[in-house]
Symmetry: D3
């Protein structure tokens, strides 16, 4: 029997055995709906949902709504000089079904959080340290951009290409809010030049109106992940 | 003619005059839907919407998506020792229709952000400075509570009663994310004891199972606002 | 047989039985989407969802959409003199995914349905018998209140604190509609004074601006549930 | 003055005139979002929205959330022997944006609330008096039907054809809850045979697989409304 | 072992067995949220959801987002002279959770797609070949109808009764877009006269204001499916 | 007459005319909610909404739900060799509030619909003529791609970068469905290299890990629109 069938059968076994053995419903289904804390253990079984199934309420603790994942700076020693640390439903199980999450972005001096989109969320960015040049581009091609300093904030509408750049000589830090438990981040450069399998070179050459050789050269900077 | 009819008539005038005078649609309706920046000037006219009408796209600037309202601490010199500063759609016009907002909470030493609910949002609180005792109560009466320190975060599910207390001897600061452009805040104590007109004393006495005199005494601490 | 072997054995049994017995998909997935009747038996297994999984359509009957749970008055012999009986997704499985539910409220003479919120629903209350004083408090602290008599109705907006009081000398009855399959009810007094573990006394004292001793005295009226 | 400046100019005029004439906007846009009471006066002007614009908060009273429209029985002296009285956003302005409404249905003895759909809502029906035969048909053609007596309830899923019949010799009454501020009701017979202009006879004849003459005969029972 | 521990135990067994047998969770729960491809194999097990559970991301291929189901004409050799072929979530697993689907409708000369509703979707119809008379009826009984030719399109609002008729002498074809992964189709004639068990004859007779014998005669044209 | 007096005069005229002409509400607010046909004339006035206000129902005709905008091929004589023609709420007023739209894409031989996103919609593409190489890239960098021929379809999940290329020697045509009345299209190349004002060259150079001179060279291919 293939491993991937195991837990489905065990679930069926549970149903049968429990139908025989359990006199009545325990638990507190009321609570289920105040929250639905993600049951990460479900990832060990075959069932995948849009989001996560819930932990049984008797197993939920205050720690499910807590995280220290944003307490430490990310490592900005990379080609773009920035690092995003997410506190989303994959890290904070209590966020499941709640439609909100946060991220921390660290920037080396002159570091760039390169152009990207969040397919499923609006972002509101609050600067903790330093000063950033930020901007987003509308579907009509307008760029809305300005400098945002410590204590100030900026909003990036749903799904639009946006970026930030540390315009100072010291590290900068921002904290972002999203109206999704898992906003998703699609780096434009990675999507075009680092996809696996690759986006055909002729498609990119025609889109960017450049020579295929230039496309190939850029692709070498984005090693395939898979 | 009553003032409140003025702008409705001017709107009608506009329609008639422009129907005669303007050869065709200008503007860029495309842009409208990448965002709908709140037109605060509409508050001067009679029209009220669920949210706000939008500024014309040609009048939108990057500043509509920007705010420095959270840069300065609130005044915690009040009976509860805390102050909430909101960066919602009433302060950041670009948030209109985008479903996200932020707040800053300042706490004096031992200050309390007293039990309250947000009728329209989930809250995710990130501690900037200090250390807080936080908690929320489910509809079943469970309290989920713990201490949250600098750099850590905690989630409060939709609509549930929650609170924070600065458990240290120095001021504390937190920044919160909400999945609503205007979450609303309903302070429990203010709603019960400071509503205007007042909630009947016998209703409160019976609800709290205390003497009417005690209710009256508490009410004196919450002077009517209107 | 050791437990580990038991489930392995059951696994093998299941493999064989299911391989023999389930020739193909059967069922009618079309129907699933006209409704998704809650499968209460799922509560006996480990899986918890936001809401409920569905019964197989071939097991659904008209009775899944029916209930007599609101036919009898609730017992109003309690300190507040009222009783709420809910016909929500926990009682009427056909309501699952449908976003609507009802409640019946019975009031003894002078009985009070004490201040509470529904974190996930708007309420529309229709008076079947008697006459009620009703009200809700906005996030700004306005109280909207009036008397509602037999045959009349009143609306309580989402998430706001509200209450009803029987202002007559005979029992009263109301029927309420909610736009949620499980609106949740958070009694303010219970949440503040009867939570388990308790909300800290100093938080409540500061919030209500009363002495800690008074808080402790009120807490004794609300025995812990857990 | 160029036409495209004209409306900006008129808007500016509005602003100035209103700034002079209206002592203070005052008001509290905060409140707008606890509710958005329908401004029926807007129907006198040219603006039509999906739903209604809101009354200014300072003009809202408790009566906006109240109605006695369901207190009196409807007139069942008609061919089908039933009458539906709606308490929706067109009658109860406070319901605007709140997503809930109610109806009262009166049935003469043997009266029928004929097959119909609600394009925008789920219905939950509670029997106040008498006994009804009720049913709905799924998209697969199953009829789920049963008798529902005084104090009992039944649920009709979104958009599906359903009906009720008074199976007793005395008048019956029911109260229904909907998860829409304006559910809409599409009577099947009226839509097919009483539409204006008429649905072509050959379409109906082919759909029902009957003779065109029979279709014409039925149409005579449903006089055009417009 | 107490029954209530049994399922926890079996769950633990699952965890252990799978931890041993499955080398690594691998997968990327991130991906889950870019899409949730329907896992049709789940139909072999007991679990039913509103929609479908997702395939594990490592099993998803481009073919899950592809279909040729609309490439061939449907068989219009039936009493109404039309055939609808759906490309919904039951045929295209990648549509799960994405809220869109398509259909192809073929019409024999003079063929009719008889009056029907989609309880869960708006329809936008594009004519590929031929010329159609189309229309929908509002809840007020207005018919909005006109002829739509090759290359033209027409919109049918949510839940309203609508129909199409091939007004030409050659076959016609249309392609429709829906904003639901499974819009559902409720044929009016089938729902009234072909439901199983049958809608009571007296209900239909009273609704249509025709003789019961005529109702019975129509019913014979719609043989029961179940 | 000074402008300020003009509008005052017009005001007075309006008062009189409207007082005489509009005896009462009239109209049919019921209808408003079966649909809300976009009132394009509102674009001549100052009011902008998220979407459009509605035409008065008495002015709505079947033509509001109709369009022939997709009947003719777009002009593919451009650098990428493709043309998108949209039938969205800006062209089909009846689509307002209905959440669906369509597009037609024409491709010259070897023409490319270059990488782009739709910030607000899922796309389902149906090939009318020819054969396309299509693909989308997930947030994790996987490319899901394949060839789709006449009569076949493919789904692009929400917000993800995707493209199509005509892989044949003859023109190709596709028709797409979207679950938004105005999906928005963000061309990646245009957003990065043709935005106005321009995205800073150093941001792009760092994001793509190429020399600033190459960025500048690409920018020259995308002349500023504004």
């Amino acid at each position: 029997m293939a491993p991937k069938h195991l837990s489905a059968f065990l679930l069926a076994v549970c149903v049968v055995l429990l139908a025989l053995a359990v006199p009545l419903l325990a638990g507190d289904p009321d609570m289920l709906q105040d929250f639905c804390v993600a049951d990460y253990k479900s990832l060990e079984g075959p069932l995948r949902l849009n989001g996560f199934p819930c932990k049984r309420p008797e197993n939920v603790t205050a720690n499910d709504f807590f995280s220290d994942v944003l307490a430490s700076p990310g490592n900005t020693g990379n080609p773009v000089g920035s690092a995003v640390t997410a506190a989303n439903v994959e890290k904070v199980p209590g966020l499941n079904t709640l439609g909100v999450s946060m991220s921390r972005v660290d920037y080396a001096p002159s570091g760039v959080n390169p152009p990207h989109t969040h397919p499923r969320a609006i972002e509101m960015l609050f600067v903790l340290e330093g000063s950033l040049d930020v901007g987003f581009v509308t579907t009509d091609g307008y760029l809305y951009a300005r400098t945002v300093c410590k204590g100030e904030l900026f909003v990036f509408p749903r799904g639009l290409v946006h970026f930030q750049k540390n315009n100072g000589g010291a590290p900068a830090v921002a904290i972002s809010a999203f109206n999704s438990q898992l906003p998703g981040t699609q780096s434009i450069a990675m999507s075009l030049f680092g996809a696996s399998p690759p986006v055909p070179t002729d498609v990119l050459a025609r889109a960017l109106q450049i020579d295929g050789g230039v496309v190939e050269a850029i692709k070498t900077k984005f090693p395939l992940k898979f």
